[in-house]
């Protein structure tokens, strides 16, 4: 039972970070129909910016907020400078450009901060070995609870935004039918920029949390996490924010349980394999993900 709870707690916290990345993907996908392949790397770059402020003596919380602001700027700029002009050409051009952005940002961060010494950064939450809660025999560390809380707060804010504000209404309108939304006077371009900016900020906080857990920012912190995040988004359905969160938490719990109870076959090395197998099976059965809506197209 202790092992079970340990694995579940661990899964909830790593799942929380996958959920954040998945949310960042879903917010963009709902609004524009594109998969932001550079989401992880944009987060990494924002985490480096946060580190730069932190290193200059700014308190970590403020530095993290500044990093998120940078992420939002980066997201909005990507929409304006890359996605919008290319969208007119073809969706494939956007796909290729976002992959180029992934490659470029990764190379850029490696080029600037790749050399030692490591860029050390603190954790947003208490992170000493004795900072943990004992719940039902399982150990739950403060920083892991913190990551889950951050994810839940952001999800709550997003739901408030989508359901209770004018801007959210416009976002939902664009998501369901961009053409009609534009015709009835919804400021589509502002909605798109807003969506990308929100996604950028969410990606940034995810990267800052990951960096905090590892104690340092490196150019590769988000590469594997992005794969997990995209798996979570696929599992939950690419157009469902709630699905993204549930998908992320599910993947986190499943992979940690598998690693804990099948050390021989899965262990630490095949965790990713389990996660990917799960989405492969889900997609075979339900191609639009658990909570996604199937798209019907007319000729």
């Amino acid at each position: 039972m202790d092992r079970f709870l340990d694995a579940v707690f661990l899964g909830l916290s790593s799942g929380a970070i996958y959920a954040l990345v998945a949310l960042s993907l879903v917010v963009v996908f709902r609004a524009s129909g594109h998969l932001n392949f550079a989401a992880g790397e944009m987060g990494t770059l924002s985490a480096f910016i946060a580190w730069a402020f932190y290193d200059a003596g700014v308190p970590l919380v403020i530095a993290a907020l500044l990093g998120m602001a940078f992420g939002a700027l980066l997201g909005g700029a990507t929409e304006v400078a890359i996605v919008r002009p290319l969208e007119k050409k073809s969706p494939l051009a956007v796909f290729v450009a976002l992959i180029a952005l992934f490659l470029g940002i990764n190379a850029l961060t490696t080029g600037i901060w790749g050399a030692p010494p490591a860029e050390e950064i603190g954790n947003l939450f208490p992170n000493d070995p004795e900072d943990f809660w004992r719940i039902g025999g399982g150990v739950w560390r403060d920083r892991d609870i913190g990551a889950l809380v951050v994810t839940l707060v952001i999800t709550g804010l997003l739901f408030f935004l989508f359901q209770r504000t004018r801007f959210g209404l416009a976002m939902r309108g664009v998501a369901s039918n961009a053409e009609s939304a534009r015709l009835v006077g919804v400021p589509t371009s502002r909605v798109l920029i807003g969506s990308w900016a929100i996604a950028g900020a969410i990606g940034a906080i995810a990267a800052i949390l990951v960096a905090g857990n590892q104690g340092q920012v490196t150019p590769i912190i988000m590469v594997t996490i992005f794969v997990y995040g995209s798996a979570a988004a696929t599992l939950g359905g690419l157009d469902s924010p709630g699905g993204a969160v549930i998908g992320g938490l599910l993947i986190g719990i499943i992979e940690n349980l598998a690693a804990e109870f099948s050390k021989d076959w899965v262990g630490q090395e095949m965790k990713l394999g389990v996660a990917l197998l799960v989405i492969f099976v889900v997609l075979l059965v339900k191609p639009s993900g658990l909570f996604g809506t199937a798209k019907v197209e007319r000729v």
């Binding site: 996908f29 073809s90 494939l92 796909f95 696929t234 690419l238 990713l272 075979l284």
Partner: protein, 389 residues
């Protein structure tokens, strides 16, 4: 503007000039350049094969795949395992690798048949990430030797049959004869010619597919899947077949790459996600949905990559001046920038761009099927091959 009917003497002159130029370039490289350049160009042929296989999927059928590095890796590992464990000759492993990758490709295409666009991209992304993880997996170590990989699978020497039978063939007199291939340079030249030969075969396969009923079906599926299905095209069969063929072709490139690198290991450059991205880049650089695009793209990529790497190390030239502040090589950053520029400025790639420029000066009027040649004036705006990425 010059207008020529397809098959007219003028058209044949252009064709012959093309063939002569390609043959001249092919002979020039192994005879006049140094060993490392020959090796780079041999790698270019392997990458061209991989990009060509991706072009078949992404360019012609619009099926997004960023999992081709896994097929490349399957090819490499099949060769490595058969050579090191079972003592096969390198060349024969290529057939096994192609067959194996065909089967894996068909299996992967199962969800691909139900998925569209980004969902498919995500499944293939999973494939690309899964392959190195699987190869490193402890439970498969008996086969793949874990993280260390398998080494020593290259040619020890140039296969003796060449030196026995072909070297010192005299064409006209002693001065024009095939050289004997020995040592490091000999291996490079041999792999170069093997690469060119297989690339030519792959080109013909692609050409055959594209210009056949299957190819037309693919393009129809790409342009409007629902409409294609309504027209009576079996989507499932066509897609599975093409996915399998594409995987098999990519695996062949992987075999040659492993033979040239003399090893197969999980983090070999083109066996990871970076490989898939590179193939995509090559395809876009050369021109999606053109037959020559992947070939031109691969050569351009290799030249760009080696040049920027050298410039990054020495800090010389424009690249060195622009990117001297970077830790490590600026090659990847330069590639990303080039890719972005290509997407904006020349979405048809190098080949598409050249064709469009050429079309301003020379127009080849295609021969209409089953009818007498139309007068030149009937076709003012003939279609140009390629599609914007």
């Amino acid at each position: 503007m010059l207008k020529l009917n397809e098959g007219s003497p003028g058209h044949w002159v252009i064709r012959i000039i093309w063939v002569a130029a390609v043959v001249a370039a092919l002979v020039y490289i192994p005879t006049k350049t140094n060993t490392s350049t020959i090796g780079d160009i041999a790698t270019a042929t392997q990458l061209a094969i991989a990009a060509m296989s991706l072009n078949l999927l992404l360019g012609y059928s619009g099926v997004i795949s960023i999992g081709h590095s896994a097929f490349f890796g399957i090819g490499g590992y099949t060769t490595a395992i058969l050579v090191s464990e079972y003592g096969w000759t390198q060349g024969w492993t290529i057939y096994v690798a192609a067959a194996l990758a065909f089967v894996v490709g068909c299996i992967v295409s199962l969800p691909a048949l139900r998925l569209k666009g980004v969902y498919l991209a995500l499944v293939t992304l999973a494939l690309a990430v899964l392959f190195p993880t699987l190869v490193r997996w402890g439970k498969l170590a008996w086969l793949t030797n874990g993280a260390q990989g398998i080494s020593g699978i290259g040619y020890e020497q140039t296969p003796t049959w060449y030196n026995d039978h072909f070297a010192r063939w005299q064409f006209i007199n002693e001065s024009i004869s095939l050289p004997e291939l020995r040592g490091r340079e000999g291996r490079a030249i041999f792999l170069y010619w093997v690469g060119i030969l297989i690339l030519a075969v792959c080109y013909l396969v692609c050409r055959g597919i594209v210009k056949s009923r299957v190819g037309r079906s693919l393009i129809a599926i790409r342009d409007n899947e629902t409409a294609a299905a309504v027209m009576g095209i079996s989507r499932a069969k066509t897609k599975a077949l093409v996915f399998g063929t594409s995987a098999a072709m990519c695996a062949v490139g992987g075999c040659l790459y492993a033979i040239q690198s003399t090893l197969a290991e999980p983090n070999l450059r083109f066996f990871t996600l970076l490989g898939s991205i590179t193939f995509l880049l090559i395809m876009v650089l050369g021109g999606a949905a053109t037959l020559w695009g992947p070939i031109v793209g691969a050569f351009a990529y290799v030249i760009l990559d080696t040049r920027t790497r050298q410039a990054g190390e020495s800090g010389e030239g424009v690249i060195g001046w622009l990117f001297g502040w970077m830790t490590g090589s600026p090659a990847t950053l330069v590639l990303a920038i080039v890719l972005l520029i290509i997407v904006f400025v020349a979405p048809f790639g190098i080949v598409g761009l050249l064709k469009r420029i050429a079309a301003k000066f020379i127009v080849i009027i295609p021969r209409p099927a089953g009818t007498a040649p139309l007068p030149v004036s009937a076709l003012e705006e003939p279609a140009v091959a390629g599609s914007p990425i």
